[in-house]
């Protein structure tokens, strides 16, 4: 499976004209063509595509992701130390943690808010509460993120100086205590996480709402109510547990999304994450980096599918017992 994915990705990548030597600087009258040709030979870019693929596979099976083609020559995945003890950090090593952090925070927020809103919608079906929640999540889904981002940056950062506008830390960062640095980072993440979560709310909350509606109309709920159980216990313990089951599959399937960042959000908020890394590498035709990210992404997709299946089986006893597929 991984070989298929990597082969297709490699070939598609090479379909685009140009390579790492065709940057904006390549149109500088002071830059010579021979140097570009030399660089192409050094990186094997003049060899047939299938041979380039073979060379790449030979390295990747030894878990050697190689170095970037860019002039900084940084390793694609993990840091390397040279003979004098200087450490050059890897590209993915630097970008992945921040993307993971934003995405994990985003997922926690999306799921907690969506479950609350979805349940509320279902319990108060067709009242003004239900309608306004649906309206709210659809607005959140439809609104262009970059536009809202700029508006919020202006309102919270320029007109009222509550939050920082962009970046990941303030200027006097080093002088803050450990706790102060943590709070500073959280302040910088409020806007990016909110903007990227906003569009995810619609899907999940409506999913939960529909799941809850199905369940609330079933017989066992009527039984529970007639037993005299408190309404909150009926809703939150008996009904919700069943409605959440499909969400486990969704969580599993969103694992590969954890390493992808939105390049638009990252550009606007000046966050050096995986989205910007991938986008810049594509524009620069930086093949080792592109293939590195695609390989990790496909690996995580496969793992995510597996976890989703396992998770569903664990959560739903009926699946385990073979009663429901």
């Amino acid at each position: 499976m991984l070989i298929g994915i990597s082969l297709v990705s490699f070939f598609i990548m090479h379909l685009a004209p140009g390579d790492v030597t065709s940057s904006e600087a390549s149109f500088n009258p002071k830059a010579s063509e021979e140097s570009r040709q030399k660089l192409r030979e050094l990186y094997n870019l003049d060899k047939p595509v299938i041979i380039q693929y073979g060379l790449w596979v030979k390295r990747i099976v030894q878990l050697d992701f190689g170095n970037s083609f860019a002039s900084h020559q940084k390793p694609v995945l993990w840091e390397r130390t040279d003979k004098s003890g200087n450490v050059t950090k890897g590209l993915i090593q630097e970008s992945l943690p921040i993307t993971l952090m934003i995405n994990l925070l985003g997922i926690c927020i999306i799921f907690s808010i969506s479950i609350f809103l979805g349940t509320l919608s279902a319990v108060r079906q067709n009242t003004w509460v239900d309608r306004s929640i649906t309206l709210f999540v659809f607005i959140g889904f439809a609104i262009p993120g970059f536009w809202l981002a700029l508006l919020l940056m202006y309102w919270t950062g320029v007109s009222n100086q509550w939050l920082p506008i962009s970046g990941l830390h303030s200027l006097g960062y080093q002088n803050l205590s450990g706790f102060g640095q943590f709070i500073d980072l959280l302040k910088h993440l409020v806007l990016p996480v909110s903007i990227s979560s906003l569009s995810g709310l619609a899907g999940i909350s409506l999913y939960v709402r529909n799941g809850m509606l199905d369940i609330l109309h079933q017989d066992f709920i009527t039984t529970a109510r007639s037993k005299g159980l408190k309404e909150s216990k009926v809703v939150f313990i008996h009904a919700l547990k069943n409605a959440i089951l499909p969400l486990i599959t969704i969580i599993g399937l969103s694992i590969p999304g954890l390493i992808g960042g939105s390049v638009i959000a990252e550009s606007i908020f000046a966050i050096p994450g995986m989205g910007k890394l991938f986008y810049d590498s594509v524009l620069m035709r930086d093949f080792p980096v592109i293939m590195g990210i695609l390989t990790i992404g496909s690996f995580l997709t496969l793992i995510g599918n597996l976890l989703a299946d396992v998770g569903y089986a664990w959560a739903d006893p009926r699946v385990r017992k073979g009663l429901v597929k």
């Binding site: 600087a25 063509e33 002039s71 506008i165 962009s166 970046g167 006097g172 050096p272 620069m284």
Partner: protein, 549 residues
């Protein structure tokens, strides 16, 4: 029932708090930025970059962010002063031999690297050997390979001998950053950690580089040209220009490049911004043009090219695309410099003359008003890269050409594909592009008929024997007034042949916070940044350590 009450209460409190917060009074103190301030050292200057530098060794890095930062860390032998004349940098004087093939540079005494070790001619020789070494991955070696022999007669003298006299030589020595031999002699220059932690000799040295976020430089107390007044230069990496603008207005940035809309529309409408931020404009050393593929019909016919030149209103382009912040040009040189021929003027907007020329070339208007020749309409495609100004320029041109009966379509292509799929292969009709040029007038690489190979810069296919001769002569002539005549004549041929239509030379626009003093306004020929080591921030106007977010 209970839940309903709780929820409505929550909504009510939420909405009312929004109102209360947004209605709070605005308390801003008025600071007086005008007045006399003492030159004093200290403070910091925060600017923004759209891209991150990749490698601080300028000969290896290809991107502008890297050379911008490296330019603050390293010196060359010469530099340009504010009037774009050669001035001493590491070399205090230089002499050209009588046969014009040898240049002798005399270094200043007592030069030091930032780590205290002495800077001598050995470092200069080392740097020259490095850039001409075939194993060094640099695109800029060709100028330095023309040096037949380089030597260091003593520790303060560096001598180079060229095969034949090479007029652009001095300009090439203004852009070679001299590197320390004692640090790099055993390093692999293509893979050394020095690129991320350099030691230079100029005004600043690297303080901190937080990958992807910011690069901080601090004043080098051993700087060969003296210690700068501003203590720290902080470059924040902010890819989006709207975010940069928001940071500027929130006082988190001091300097920013702005676009014509911000200069002409946003700032004039915002009194609060004009109170604390000053605007500057300067002419850069580049121009935007419409280039014809001279190997394709009908562009091989000079009457067609000249006709299209008359049919485009360049003033309209400058007004519409640049909001008036640019100048029309008639030669490939910066207006105001000696290389610009003052007797040439741009083709005026005369659509009637355009039609006359096209008729001579055999085009006649059909019933729909489209120009036809041999049954084929005059129709072509303009391609350009993803640059908003070039796209808008193409649209303005399309409209004007449509008025005289020429059908034009526009295509915008991402850069790498643009160069490889269309430019290199010669598979294009017309391009809208720009050149950003060095200060030496030599344009051999762009206009000489021998430079038409794949990957070379005469991609339009221009060939004119007179121009070839002039370009060859210009490269050899070291006498400035003779050289001036050569390039004036060259510009005349270029204007007549019209292989390109000069569209405009746009201004570089900057917004700088008024706390930064020492900026020369109006900008001298070298631009406002040439003396950034002389800028200072008065003590009373500095921001406190943590207030910038």
């Amino acid at each position: 029932m209970k839940k309903n009450c709780l929820f409505s209460n929550f909504i009510a409190i939420f909405i009312s708090s929004i109102f209360i917060i947004s209605c709070s009074k605005d308390t801003t103190e008025v600071i007086d930025y005008n007045g006399k301030f003492k030159h004093i050292s200290g403070g910091n200057l925060i600017n923004a970059m759209a891209g991150e530098p990749s490698n601080l060794i300028a000969m290896i890095a290809g991107d502008s962010a890297s050379s911008a930062i490296a330019g603050n860390i390293f010196n060359s032998l010469l530099k340009y002063d504010e009037n774009l004349n050669y001035a001493p940098d590491l070399a205090e004087s230089w002499q050209i031999s009588n046969d014009q093939k040898t240049i002798s540079f005399k270094l200043k005494k007592g030069l030091q690297w930032a780590d205290g070790k002495p800077l001598t001619s050995a470092d200069v020789l080392f740097t020259w050997k490095l850039i001409t070494n075939p194993n060094t991955r640099t695109p800029y070696a060709s100028d330095y390979q023309l040096v037949k022999k380089a030597s260091t007669p003593d520790s303060l003298t560096f001598k180079v001998t060229y095969e034949s006299s090479y007029a652009p030589a001095l300009d090439t020595w203004t852009s070679l950053h001299i590197l320390p031999k004692h640090i790099l002699k055993d390093e692999d220059i293509n893979n050394t950690f020095f690129s991320r932690n350099p030691t230079g000799s100029s005004f600043y040295k690297l303080d901190e580089w937080i990958s992807g976020q910011q690069v901080t430089l601090k004043a080098n107390d051993k700087s060969v040209l003296g210690v700068p007044l501003i203590n720290k230069l902080i470059s924040r990496i902010i890819p989006d220009t709207s975010s940069q603008f928001l940071e500027l207005t929130a006082d988190n940035l001091d300097v920013m490049n702005i676009n014509p809309i911000q200069y002409q529309r946003v700032f004039p409408a915002r009194k609060d911004l004009r109170q604390k931020i000053a605007l500057y404009k300067e002419l850069g050393n580049g121009y935007t043009y419409l280039g014809f593929n001279l190997k394709k019909t009908p562009f091989n016919d000079i009457r067609v090219r000249q006709a299209l030149n008359y049919a485009i209103d360049k003033d309209e382009v400058i007004k519409g695309v640049l909001l008036g912040l640019g100048e029309p040009i008639s030669s490939p040189y910066k207006p105001g410099t000696r290389w610009n021929n003052p007797n040439l003027s741009p083709y005026p907007y005369k659509p009637s003359k355009a039609l006359v020329l096209l008729q001579e070339a055999g085009f006649k208007k059909n019933d729909d008003g489209i120009l036809m020749k041999n049954g084929k309409p005059l129709k072509f495609e303009i391609i350009t890269n993803q640059n908003k100004q070039r796209e808008m320029t193409a649209v303005v041109i399309q409209k004007r050409l449509q008025e005289i009966g020429v059908e034009v379509s526009i295509r915008v292509i991402e850069w790498a594909s643009f160069v490889n799929r269309f430019i290199k292969t010669g598979d294009f009709d017309v391009v809208v592009l720009g050149w950003s040029l060095s200060l030496d007038p030599d344009q051999y690489n762009i206009w000489h008929s021998s430079q038409q190979g794949p990957g070379q810069f005469n991609f339009l296919g221009y060939s004119n024997k007179n121009v070839d001769k002039l370009l060859e002569l210009g490269r050899k002539e070291l006498n400035v007034s003779k050289r001036e005549k050569i390039y004036h004549e060259f510009s005349k041929y270029l204007l007549e042949d019209s292989p390109i239509i000069y569209l405009y030379a746009g201004y570089g626009l900057s917004a700088v916070h008024k706390r930064v003093k020492g900026i020369k306004n109006p900008a001298p020929p070298a631009g406002i940044y040439h003396n950034n080591y002389d800028w200072f921030v008065p003590k009373s106007l500095r921001r406190s350590e943590i207030s910038a977010r």
